[in-house]
Assembly symmetry: C2
Homo-oligomer: 251 residues x 2
């Protein structure tokens, strides 16, 4: 894998990579898709290199698809990271031996890499990270329990979440994170989880319905304790319209 890239390094943008923060929502938790890096005993954001014949956005989609298998999801560039020492000694002698990379070609890898951060919102239920046939451990991890990450991936993850929190005020969220049919309490939990903040049930309902992107279905959620909540779906047309025009006008 990595060796293939190194051996064809002229086909890839040098010193530049992509890292994706892939968010999902499950069990009322905000999950992040992470990859176990065995040799370092740490975890990593799914990332990749940029073929010289691909737009960076396209390369980001490729990374996302190769890890999640889903297409057409919400994917947005949020920041680029380029501290001088960000990948200093990341590929040390041990690692190069592990990947069977010759010393001469290793130079391509060991230089400072600038990485472009993208975050994605995906439907947890449609993704089976462990069934991708790759020889690696990919897992959904609760964002509150993210273990130590390699390099500056923690910083990248934090920045992605910060961006998501800000964008929550500028656009609707949920279409990409929830199944087709969902309940208002579920949507509220999603907002509360992202914002890490309790919201008032009744005020939330009013505010979210006033946006005009929800369709109330003639159907209730089954197999639930206590009163069965109504099911809703997004009105994709209106949703996209609001996505385009934004929510808060401010000034």
């Amino acid at each position: 894998m990595l060796k293939d890239i190194i051996d064809n390094s002229e086909n890839y943008q040098p010193g530049l990579s992509i890292d994706c923060v892939i968010f999902g929502f499950h069990d009322n938790q905000l999950k992040v898709l992470l990859i176990k890096v065995e040799r370092a005993n740490k975890w990593s954001l799914p990332g990749g290199f940029i073929p010289v014949d691909q737009d960076i956005d396209t390369a980001a989609i490729t990374v996302l698809n190769s890890r999640t298998g889903v297409e057409g999801v919400f994917l947005r560039q949020f920041a680029t990271f380029g501290k001088v020492n960000r990948n200093h000694q990341h590929f040390d002698k041990k690692a190069l031996e592990y990947f069977q990379i010759e010393e001469e070609k290793a130079k391509w890898l060991t230089r400072r890499f600038v990485t472009i951060g993208y975050y994605a919102l995906v439907d947890f239920s449609k993704i089976l990270p462990n069934l991708l046939g790759r020889n690696e451990v990919v897992e959904w991890i609760d964002h509150k329990e993210v273990p130590e990450l390699i390099l500056d991936h923690r910083e990248i993850l934090d920045k992605a979440l910060d961006t998501l929190r800000i964008e929550l005020n500028l656009m609707p969220i949920g279409y990409n994170l929830l199944p087709e049919k969902f309940t208002i309490p579920e949507l509220q939990k999603l907002y509360e989880t992202i914002l890490d903040k309790k919201l008032d049930r009744r005020n939330f309902l009013r505010k979210i319905t006033n946006i005009g992107i929800l369709t109330k279905l003639d159907e209730k959620k089954s197999n639930v304790a206590h009163k069965a909540p109504n099911l809703y779906s997004f009105d994709k047309e209106k949703y996209d319209e609001v996505l385009k025009n934004g929510l808060n006008q401010g000034w």
Copy 2:
């Protein structure tokens, strides 16, 4: 200049550049600092390359300083641009001859360059773009009259302005764009110019003063037609506090 960089290309991050959208405010107009590219008869955003021993943020500051001479201004990364063909044929044979760059070394230049966009807000009155001793034409141009730009610089400029418009709702603006003492109508014109939208005088005053970042001075603007408006300054301490915490909470 360029030749120096090419001759020492190993000291620069390959295929990666920085472009700065430098905003100023003068005569009730939002100005952008642009550079005339004689050989192409087009204009360009001030940009530069990234030394391998500099953080990208540091490199951006360097670009900004070298063009404006000012330090400590507002500078923020807003997006990274990397379409495959974005600099296709930008350095053609003619250009390479012009810069006296050998064909062999030109390869470093002619590959696809990904560029990291930064925007800056600077005090127009403190900057004298033409007195920097460089052998190039640098000019403040009204953003509404920006001529044809090289490459995708138009796209970069537009994205910068979009970002600025959005951030106007999230943070206070003005400290970096206005002189130390200013009037409320001036500040309002700044907002109106950035947003390209008329605002109500009285509502603007109320809203802007409620933020609590302004200090009303015991001084009026002199030499003006009609009633002399009061002068204000920013309360830097409170300004920075609001900058950090943000304006609109939204949810």
